[in-house]
């Protein structure tokens, strides 16, 4: 564990013991635990005392499939003012493990722009004045040139992070982002531009022969039906399937089906734009669909295209042109802003424009109607550079709607200050609960609980208390994916907790059972809740946006669906019960005791009633 204060330049190496490792596993477990223990309660996200934490999992730097390079980034989020957490992959995480670190905790604020250069044991703050104002891609290139090594890996902010946008992300390896909850702005607030890493150490495991044989099996599984979606069309396959189910966010949730879905589908993308498939470190699944625009006004634009940004800049903005979507995502990568949230913010601005709440004067002359692809693309730099209405939108839809006023709050689709993602949860009641209680705000990635809704295991239009257990169980296994850290695209290859516990033991040499792993998953989720309660979260924050609650889906198979206040209460009661929480959503003392978290009892005790 490396601590660095970028104000003083002082570093400290701290080791952790087996008990810590096993209780929190890695990744999100380590991230939440170290954030809770290293950040003074209630500080502003841009306070130098808010640490920016990089955390690796147990299997980084090994040949375990889809896991060599996963890493998590944690801090108090400028978007939610609660737990900020985001994940990335590519190559950077493997490099940090080779350099010999599991956790890097960055505190303080540099006087002048700096970047952190971790070269095995050598840790230096380097001048970044020539990098300030530069794009993420230029920054990566310049650092590699300056330091004279093409294999150096760089996690960097763009202009979005420098300008303290709540949408700002951290980009590494050109196409990969720790995207959500505005963590790029936390780095920017420290006058820090990037973390560059080179590692040359061995990454040895407890049982390398057994691990190799286990990996042989895992690689076979990675080539099987559980991952075929990611290997063929990729996540954009969701466009048509969600459209059919009336769950494709369209025109800022005015609708849930998009008439232009065929033209932004995974099928269309692969036929016309995908030029290459690439892989992260040690991934036999290789899901990265690199798309390039061959002609027209956005010729040459290149980006890795996934479903979520396609939804955000496509159906959510009413845009049926993939060339514009690819360009918008490229600009998000270059300027260092989250492609999901940025797309959803543009959709919100279009909704405000069409509703007469903002006008062409605000937009710098752009005719910001739904479907205007050119205007949409132009909005990305405006947001990252805080130009015109972009100055307001850069803070996310929650703060933007508060500044715009005039009832625009009704159009602001966010949970806990984080923009909604690509499932219309009005007709997905289990997912609606998952979104409402997710510790990082609107989010499908902490629970994946659209699964039972879309898979037909439950009546997706009906709320009942049993969904609480479903969501809690899903969150627990997802917390283990996020702690090991295993790519969720590989989730179908894992045969439950025992399988993952076996992997953990082969790599670390620490004996571990499936039951212990499951308990760790619950412990990590409870700890996330404790952090959020400490920072001010209450039951009132576990909710869905006004549009989801008040405006029924207007047509299609999900016609009439919405999540009422009554629905929400039923869902929350069921979930709080399953979690062992009070009516106010606070963990009870006995629950904390069972999980070995009693030391945090005092943090939440006063919030229970």
């Amino acid at each position: 564990m490396l601590h660095i204060d970028v104000g003083t330049g002082k570093t400290k190496i701290q080791t952790f013991d087996e008990a810590f490792a096993k209780a929190y596993i890695g990744g999100t477990g380590f991230g939440i635990k170290t954030l809770l223990d290293n950040q003074p309660a209630g500080v502003d996200p841009f306070d130098p005392q808010n640490p920016l934490i990089y955390a690796l999992g147990a299997v980084n730097g090994t040949m375990v499939p889809c896991a060599a390079s996963k890493f998590g980034v944690f801090a108090k989020s400028p978007a939610s003012r609660l737990l900020g957490e985001a994940y990335s992959t590519g190559q950077w995480g493997a490099e940090l493990r080779q350099a010999g670190y599991d956790i890097v905790i960055i505190k303080g604020k540099a006087e002048k722009p700096k970047y952190l250069w971790i070269d095995d044991e050598s840790v230096q703050l380097m001048d970044a004045s020539h990098l300030w104002g530069k794009s993420t891609w230029d920054t990566e290139e310049i650092i590699r040139k300056d330091l004279g090594d093409q294999y150096i890996r760089v996690s960097t902010i763009g202009q979005g992070g420098e300008n303290l946008s709540a949408l700002a992300c951290l980009i590494n390896d050109h196409f990969r982002a720790a995207g959500r909850t505005g963590l790029g702005a936390v780095m920017g607030s420290k006058n820090m531009k990037a973390v560059a890493v080179r590692g040359t150490h061995d990454v040895s495991v407890a049982e390398h022969e057994k691990l190799r044989e286990f990996c042989r099996d895992l690689y076979e599984r990675c080539k099987g039906p559980a991952t075929s979606k990611y290997r063929t069309l990729g996540t954009p396959a969701n466009v048509l399937s969600l459209n059919k189910q009336g769950a494709l966010p369209t025109r800022n949730f005015r609708e849930a089906m998009f008439e232009g879905a065929d033209k932004i589908s995974g099928e269309y993308l692969n036929e016309h734009y995908v030029v290459k498939i690439e892989a992260c470190s040690a991934c036999p699944m290789r899901c990265e669909h690199i798309a390039s625009v061959p002609e027209g006004p956005f010729k040459g634009a290149t980006a890795r295209i996934e479903y979520e940004p396609t939804m955000a800049f496509g159906s959510s903005c009413g845009v049926d042109r993939l060339d514009a979507i690819i360009k918008a995502v490229e600009l998000c990568n270059v300027y260092g802003v989250d492609a999901i949230s940025t797309g959803m913010v543009v959709a919100f601005a279009m909704d405000c424009y069409e509703s007469g709440l903002i006008n062409a004067e605000d937009t710098g002359g752009l005719d910001l109607r739904f479907g205007n692809a050119e205007a949409m693309v132009e909005m990305v730099p405006k947001i990252a550079l805080r130009k015109d209405i972009g100055a307001v939108l850069a803070d996310g839809v929650k703060l933007a709607s508060e500044k715009i006023g005039k009832g625009s709050e009704a159009l602001a689709c966010h949970i806990k200050g984080v923009e909604l993602t690509g499932y219309d949860i009005r007709g997905l009641k289990t997912a609606a609960l998952g979104y409402a209680v997710s510790r990082r705000g609107a989010d499908h990635q902490r629970h994946g609980s659209y699964g039972p809704d879309l898979g037909g295991q439950v009546d997706r239009f009906k709320a009942d208390k049993s969904r609480g257990r479903l969501v809690a169980d899903a969150e627990d296994i997802y917390a283990i994916f996020d702690s090991m850290i295993l790519c969720k695209f590989s989730r179908g290859i894992w045969k439950g907790y025992d399988d993952i516990a076996n992997l953990y033991a082969l790599v670390t040499g620490i004996p571990c059972t499936g039951a212990e792993m499951q308990l760790a998953g619950e412990r990590i989720n409870q700890l996330g809740r404790i952090y959020n309660i400490r920072e001010g979260l209450t039951r009132a924050d576990d909710t869905v946006p006004p549009r989801i609650m008040n405006d029924p889906i207007p047509r299609g198979v999900s016609k009439g669906a919405r999540v009422t206040k009554e629905d929400m209460d039923i869902l929350l009661d069921g979930y709080y019960e399953a979690r062992g929480w009070t009516q106010q959503g606070v963990p009870k003392a006995e629950k904390l005791k069972d999980l070995g978290l009693s030391e945090y009892g005092a943090v939440v005790a006063s919030k229970r009633a």
Partner: protein, 166 residues
């Protein structure tokens, strides 16, 4: 006649996953460490990926360049053998290699290159994309010849009725 087999990559198939690096270092060093792998992946943004390793050149320039006679080319199969006692990591061989295929162990400061794992390279076995192949220059030229004729015929006569077998 000695058949100099070596590992070659098809960049169209290579996805840059680096599994070859992991499996090489595990086989040779019993640990995971790409910097000790005898095969290294090059990625050039946005879409170029290729694994590079020793091509077992005839009259290998690395052997010629070594001032300490630490390198020797096997008469049997053409692999470059390193005498670790003689090698002092000076790097002349690395400069002489046109393919950047020589690895310098960052800890021991001794060079290493592909030894074909006794004729069954682990990288080829594990490559999930079948982008790596143990082959010879003769087979490579044969393939190129067949591909060229196929393309030429397609261009002049339209689609061939059956896929040419190469």
């Amino acid at each position: 006649m000695v058949r100099h087999e070596f590992v070659t990559v098809d960049p169209d198939k290579c996805v840059g996953c680096r599994i070859c690096e992991y499996t090489c270092s595990l086989e040779k060093e019993k640990t995971f460490n790409p910097t000790k792998s005898r095969i290294r992946v090059v990625r050039i943004y946005p879409t170029i990926n290729a694994s590079m390793t020793c091509r077992l050149c005839e009259d290998a320039p690395c052997v010629v360049a070594c001032p300490r006679k630490a390198l020797e080319q096997s008469k049997e199969n053409g692999v470059i053998l390193v005498n670790a006692d003689k090698c002092n990591g000076c790097g002349w061989c690395i400069e002489a290699c046109d393919f950047g295929a020589i690895t310098l162990d960052p800890a021991k400061k001794v060079v290493a290159m592909c030894d074909l794992c006794n004729g069954e390279p682990k990288c080829v076995e594990w490559c999930p994309e079948e982008a790596l192949e143990l082959t010879t220059k003769d087979i490579l030229s044969q393939k190129a010849r067949f591909e060229a004729v196929k393309k030429l015929m397609e261009a002049t006569q339209g689609q061939p009725k059956a896929e040419a077998k190469s």
